[in-house]
Symmetry: C2
Subunit: 328 residues, 2 copies
């Protein structure tokens, strides 16, 4: 079997997740990892895979079928995505929702110029959750869609905590409020405020001698991040942080509640994820869509795509015949 | 806006559901209902829609964009499906899992001969549950998939009860066993026997003077239908049956439990449905895929398809731009 040759750009949590996901898919092989660091300083899990500097990307053009872009959405991807999409089939997890239309346009233009496929915003949200919002709304056009996140670590909110004066380290969990989830599951289609849907649990390691009350107040009143939420602040030691908060779990729910017929028969569609490693799961989704990108490119297609544009069968290593006989 | 012109073949529970679903989608209109009964004897919910005999189908060829075939899978669809697919774009809910490959082949050949699209086996199982089995397995290739059905009425098992001597009427509910669902949700990937996954609740109206013990024994030991399950039999009156068991609720779960990475991080993906009207929900899914069939045919495609082959964006009345901006 000819394997799909995968390249990784950026070797952080997601990049490492992609490396591990490739190892779990027999129709793929990892060809190279590209980094902005000194290549010699990067140690992979996989033996025999080249680590190269970003500047060498183009030299590998004929040896990689799909590049998985594992840079950040704030500054890396907006520049890197379109540039690379002109020369490689790409997958990324661009997740700045408000800038998706603009980013899609830029990747589309570049990918078309080079005859490549670029699938953007892949993962679980955006990604699998987006798909379930679409499927739910299409099936039940009269209804309401609810997305709950967590319990899981929010990187952005954890960063915000660590910028507070007197804070040495910290982590923030987004927690869906069970009572709100139950109201949604009942089919009553409630209007829920931000405060009613999620609460924010902060675990904070203070600097020695810091003013704990001032820290707590600074966090709880922080605009955009915490002021609209019920927030709890728990002070812990650095050792406790390492021992109890070093995993990266996450998850959540997409619930569509709607009605059909003349009598308004109620239906609830719920999709839920319980993930022990957010980056490894995201990477596993990215790798499925790399398979789809490879197949679309082979079929002569080009341009930008999202999860909405990809027929499910393209994600599976099985043949259409096997899928119909075994999973339909 | 030019509306998608829908036709319905067969006016039973699903056919009525399709009629009601069309009314809830603004980009569609119901053009005609075809029946094997006397057309004058069929009364629709919608005014101004033609009821015609099946023999007149071809005369409407230019007035219908997509026909939704609402016949049964045992004897109707295997004959009717391929025959109609040669002249119309079709959607059906063919659900005899073992015969899907053969049926797909027959519809494919006919649809290609006429330049039409035929999407088969659409609904929730096969349908949305199949999609979730595929997505789950593609994302987590090392893992186990579990499908639970219910609580809901099984038509086949209800029919089997009614054939037992001394039974006047009856209904059967398939009920997922909560303890099994919880074991699966824990991520332990248990091996579950048929008996451990579902139980069967029977509500039976006996003939006057019938031998109740004999009825109970005949049901509980019936091969294929009940002998492999924990089965309960409750005797009720015809009035109780009408009052408490005339709705058609259903639902169930598809759960994928799998692991990623070197440490075997566990993940649980769960898709669940809680449906107050099985036929109306099935019809709502059929109608989404009618939209997809219409678009594929407009794009010049032909042949048989399943839900696995349909890009999600084709199901939504929204434009790709609206979907990216609003749901991604």
């Amino acid at each position: 079997m000819e394997k799909i040759r995968i390249g990784i750009v950026g070797y952080g949590n997601i990049g490492r997740g992609v490396e591990l996901a490739v190892a779990r898919n027999e129709d793929m092989e990892l060809k190279a990892v590209f980094t902005r660091r000194k290549p010699a300083s990067v140690k992979l899990h996989t033996e025999g895979v080249a680590v190269k500097h970003m500047d060498e990307l183009l030299s590998m053009k004929d040896e990689v079928d799909v590049l998985v872009l594992c840079g950040g959405s704030a500054t890396d991807l907006p520049v890197m995505g379109p540039k690379i999409a002109a020369n490689f089939n790409t997958i990324d997890s661009f997740d700045t929702h408000a800038r998706i239309p603009e980013y899609f346009g830029n990747v589309d233009k570049a990918a078309k110029s080079g005859g490549k496929i670029g699938i953007i915003s892949v993962g679980w949200d955006p990604g699998m959750f987006s798909l379930n919002r679409l499927y739910g709304e299409a099936i039940l056009p009269q209804g309401s869609t609810y997305t709950f996140w967590g319990k899981g670590v929010s990187q952005g909110h954890s960063d915000a905590i660590r910028r507070v004066e007197g804070v040495k380290n910290g982590i923030q969990y987004t927690v869906p409020i069970e009572a709100a989830v139950e109201r949604v599951r009942s089919g009553s289609e409630p209007d829920l405020t931000t405060r009613e849907k999620h609460l924010r649990e902060c675990y904070v390691v203070p600097e020695e001698g810091a003013d704990l009350q001032a820290i707590e107040k600074a966090i709880k009143t922080m605009p955009n991040y915490f002021d609209e939420y019920e927030t709890t602040v728990t002070f812990i030691t650095e050792e406790e942080l390492k021992a109890n908060h070093s995993k990266m779990p996450h998850g959540g729910f997409v619930i569509r509640s709607g009605e059909t017929g003349e009598d308004g028969n109620q239906h609830i569609i719920e999709y839920s994820l319980k993930l022990n490693s957010n980056p490894e799961f995201t990477a596993s989704v990215l790798i499925c869509y790399a398979r789809a990108a490879y197949r679309l490119a082979k079929a002569g297609e080009c341009g930008a795509r999202t999860v909405f544009d990809i027929a499910p069968s393209l994600l599976s290593a099985k043949t259409p015949e096997e899928l119909r006989a075994g999973l339909l």
